[in-house]
Amino acid sequence: MEITVNGDAVTLDGPLTIARLLVEQEVKMPDMVSVEHNGKILDRAEFDKQQVRPGDTVEFLYFMGGGA
C-alpha cells in the first residue's frame, strides 16, 4: 500500500499499526516522537492499536532541537 510519511510517498506491506510503522521506517529515538496520523495527534497508548491504511498521511514530529 502507499502512504505519505513526512511528505514523502512510501510503499509498504500493509495495513500495519503505528508502532510497527515506527519500526519499519527505522524511526530513531521513538520515545521522543509525536505522531500525527491523518491530521490527528495520537496518544502514545494508541501506537499499538491505530492502523495505518492505504492513502493515509503520517507525520513524525520531534521536540529536541535548539542548541548553543
Binding site: M29, V33, S34, L61
Partner: protein, 422 residues
Amino acid sequence: MQNDIPRHGLRPATVGVHGGYDDDPSTGATAVPIFQTASYAYGSTRDLADVFRGRAPGHVYSRISNPTTYALERRLAQMEGGVGAIATASGMGAITAVMTALLRAGDEIVSVRGIFGGTVSLFRNVLSRFNIRATLTAPDAASVSAAVTDATKVIFAETIANPVMDVPDLPALSEVARSHNIPLVVDATVTTPALARVKDFGADVIVHSTTKFINGHGTAIGGAIVDTGNYRWAEGRFEDLASLARKAGQMALLARLRNVVYRDLGACPAPQNSFLMLQGLETLSARMPIHCKNALRLAEFLASLPGVEWVNYPGLPTSPHKPVVDRLYGGIGGAILTFGLAGEADPARCMDSFVLARRMTNLGDAKTLVLHPASTIFAEYDRSERLNLGVTDDMIRVSLGIEDFEDIREDFEQAITQSTEN
C-alpha cells in the same frame, strides 16, 4: 541510537535492568556508554537544520540532550509508565523547571505542608519574586481543596512528606486537581517506582531527586521529570501548552521543557552522573525492600525504648497514615523515620554518639544517615516557623541504609543510651 520501540508490559524491576537501552550497536557493550561530549557533528547543514526544526531526531548539544542521559530518561519513563522523561542536574532543578514551565506571574501553587525545606525555600524565596504564590496546607483532600483558588494552577505533594512523614492520599488529591482541571505534581523521591507507580494514583507530573534511592550510593546529584500522560494538556488551563499540544499531543509539557524551559534554565545532568543513575536503577528494586524493612524494624525498636519519646514512621500500625500506606504502598512506609528523645535529652548528643550512622544531609544512601533538621535544612526559619512546618527541635531524621539490621540496632541503642545518661 536505538530503533526499537519501548518494551511494554515488563514489570518495573525488569525495566530498571533492561529499559531504555539495547546493547551498543557498534561494540555490543551492555552497559550504557558515557557519551562524554558537549556537542554532535552533522554531515550537512540541512541535517542539523532538520533537527533544529523538529523534522528529524538527534542530539545537538548536551545541555539539551545526550545519549547517556537519554537512556536514563527512557528507563525512568518506562518504570513510571510515563509518556516521557527529562533528567535534570538535581531534584531542585526538576521542580524549578516544572514550575517555571507551568506557571506565570499571578499563578498559585497549593502544596501539602511538611515537605522538603529546599522546595519550601524555592516557593517562598525564589518563585515569590516572580509573583508566584504558594500556600502550604494539611495533606488531606478537604484542606487542599479549601486552599485552591481561581489562580491555583498546580497542586504539589510529596509521596511521603519529608521530614514530617505525612502520607497524602494521592487519589483523593488527584480528584481535587481534576475538579479544577489543574495538574497534580508529585515528588516521588522517597518512594520511587520500586514502591509504587504514582501515575496509577492520579499523578500528572512526577519529579524525583535521583540523588537519593535511585542513585542509591550517594555518588551523584541528579533529578528527573516524568510526564505520566494523565493530564490532557490540549484541554488544560495552560494556553501555551494547549496550543503546543495541537502539534505535540501528550508530549506538550516535555516539548516545552526540552525546547524552551529546560534548555534555557540549563540544569542538565553530566553524562557521568546519568550513568551512575542508570546503574542505580538496575538495583533499585532489589535495594528498596531492604531499606524499608530496616526502617520498620528500627521504628519498632525505637518505639520499645523508654529513652525515646516518640517515633514517626508511617509504616507503624500506630501511625495515622498507616491506612493510606496500606492502600497505596502495600503497607510499606518507606525508608525514612523521625524520632525524639524522652525528657530533656539533647538530640545533638545523640547525633554525636552514632558510630555507624553518618551525620549527613542526604537520603537514600546505602549507608544509614542521621540528620537534625531544625539546625540544618530548616535552620533558615525561626523556631515558630519551623514548628509551623512541622519540624520540632528534638526531631532526629533517619534514612535507613542497607546494612545488617543488627548493626544498625546496636548503633542506635548505644547512641540513645549515651545521650540519655546523666
